[in-house]
């Protein structure tokens, strides 16, 4: 049994540690040890599901997942509907707490995205909840709910159109008191499919020659809007998401394979391009939208 320790704080950044441990593990049985997990955000939860899925598909049976029974983080995972989705991924070594309450800061619980109707369902669901969160918590104009729905739809379509594998989406608000002194909305989408390099390889790899790799593929899609489809109407989704996230002074990053590319706002110090990360299949998209500063003067 190979033990993969789950970091105490699990988010999109610390997910790399999980990917590194998973890459080291062979084809034997795997146990994800989450007993030290104290804090997790949508990027972390979805990353854990993705890592579990990779381990399950590699070994042919669900990996074990240990969590601390009764811990706040375990209750939070229940609130995010993690256990409902995790049942098909993990052999759970924890009794899921009853999910008896809802929370006003959860915009979108963990939701599998497998078909286009799934996207219709999440867009429809956030219409009701997102309006209140975006306007009251983040001080966005009332119209932002439509723009947020468009972002949500486009990132989810990325799973179906390019990954050819299951994916998940989730969104929640947090107070980033130390880092930013403001509330933020975190939207995470991940899949374990072919990734940007795999999606673009047939149509674009040749022209990049030996420069072709995960980082080049990400740059091609993220910066230049390249897509595997010959149709000139394609490839707009990511470009338009970036534009809207910039308008809201937000951050967006995409991790795929061994690279991560990001649009970095002034308040963040994430590198715009990271290479040689621990390999992980598919694509993980992470968007952070900060609360707008209200000028009371």
């Amino acid at each position: 049994m190979q033990i993969i320790p789950v970091p105490g704080t699990l988010d999109a950044a610390s997910f790399d540690q999980l990917a590194k441990e998973l890459a080291k593990s062979g084809e034997g049985k795997v146990l994800f040890d989450g007993r030290h997990l104290r804090w997790v955000d949508p990027g972390g939860i979805i990353g854990l599901l993705a890592a579990g899925t990779v381990a399950r598909d590699r070994q042919g049976t669900p990996p074990k997942l240990q969590l601390l029974e009764g811990a706040d983080v375990t209750k939070y995972l229940a609130r995010m509907r993690f256990f409902e989705v995790a049942e098909s991924v993990f052999d759970l070594e924890v009794r899921p707490p009853r999910r008896s309450w809802s929370s006003s800061d959860v915009l979108l619980e963990i939701t599998p995205i497998n078909t286009n109707p799934d996207i219709h369902a999440v867009v429809d669901r956030v219409q009701q909840q997102a309006g209140a969160i975006l306007s009251k918590t983040l001080n966005y104009p009332a119209s932002a709910v439509v723009q947020f729905s468009v972002i949500l739809s486009e990132v989810c379509q990325n799973i179906i159109e390019h990954a050819e594998a299951p994916g998940w989406v989730s969104a929640q608000t947090y107070t980033w008191a130390k880092r930013l002194g403001r509330q933020v909305l975190i939207l995470s989408v991940a899949d374990v499919g072919k990734g940007f390099r795999g999606s673009l390889a047939d149509t674009h790899a040749t022209r990049f020659g030996n420069r072709w790799g995960d980082a080049t593929a990400l740059e091609a899609a993220f910066i230049h809007g390249l897509t595997r489809f010959p149709d000139s109407g394609r490839g707009q989704g990511i470009q338009q998401i970036r534009k809207q996230v910039r308008r809201w002074e937000g951050a967006i990053s995409i991790r795929s394979g061994t690279a991560r590319i990001a649009d970095v706002p002034s308040w963040d110090d994430t590198p715009p391009l990271e290479e040689n990360l621990p390999p992980f299949p598919g694509a993980q998209i992470h968007i952070i939208l900060p609360a707008q500063v209200v000028d009371h003067a």
Binding site: H120, Q147, V150, S232
Partner: protein, 195 residues
């Protein structure tokens, strides 16, 4: 009524998407949804319209439209009826494009160098998408006049090349040219004649 037969067709996209695609939603999201809506519009035109038609595509009841869907419902629809092998001469006026829908629609139009006539909330008409300065100037002048006879074309705006610009607007389906009288007609004027 115009002296040449043009069939008016009114298409409520919100109703169409609920009827054809997703019974519970009026969100125009995802590319397959857009494709289904565009095919439904083409079917309506095939069933209800003659060789020449002017269709009002009403987006008033659409809550959300994303870029993929806008590309399918707006850009690809226009492209289909600009092709040489188009099934019929179809002209389109878009209605109910709220400020929130405008960005995805303008982006997909500009990306494909397309333009469309849109009725604003106040009932005025505008061109959205990609047009040259000359096209916009001539289109606005014709919109103000409603229609012009061939011999009045040079009075439409000062300067040369007005006829060529009108020809371009006709080819782009932003202006209707009556094949019998040769008159150039704003789509808004044609719409008022038909309804």
């Amino acid at each position: 009524m115009p002296d040449f037969e043009v069939d008016p067709v009114s298409i409520d996209v919100g109703r169409l998407v609920r009827r054809n695609v997703a019974s519970l939603y009026s969100s125009l999201v995802t590319r397959p949804t857009g494709q289904a809506v565009r095919l439904a519009i083409e079917n309506v035109l095939a069933e209800e319209a003659g060789p020449v038609s002017l269709s009002v595509i009403d987006l008033s009841h659409v809550t959300v439209i994303d870029f993929s869907c806008a590309d399918e419902v707006v850009a690809k629809l226009l492209l289909r009826f600009l092709e040489d092998d188009r099934p019929r001469d179809a002209f389109f006026v878009f209605r109910g494009i709220r400020e929130l829908h405008r960005d995805p629609i303008e982006v997909v139009l500009e990306r494909q160098t397309l333009a469309a006539v849109s009725e604003t909330e106040s009932g005025a008409y505008e061109v959205i998408g990609s047009t040259s300065w000359e096209e916009l100037k001539v289109w606005q002048a014709l919109e103000g006049r409603g229609r012009v006879k061939p011999k009045e074309v040079h009075d439409l705006v000062p300067g040369n090349g007005v006829e060529e610009t009108l020809g371009s607007l006709v080819r782009r389906r932003l202006v209707f040219r009556n094949p019998l009288s040769g008159e150039y007609q704003a789509l808004s004027d044609l719409l008022h004649c038909l309804t």
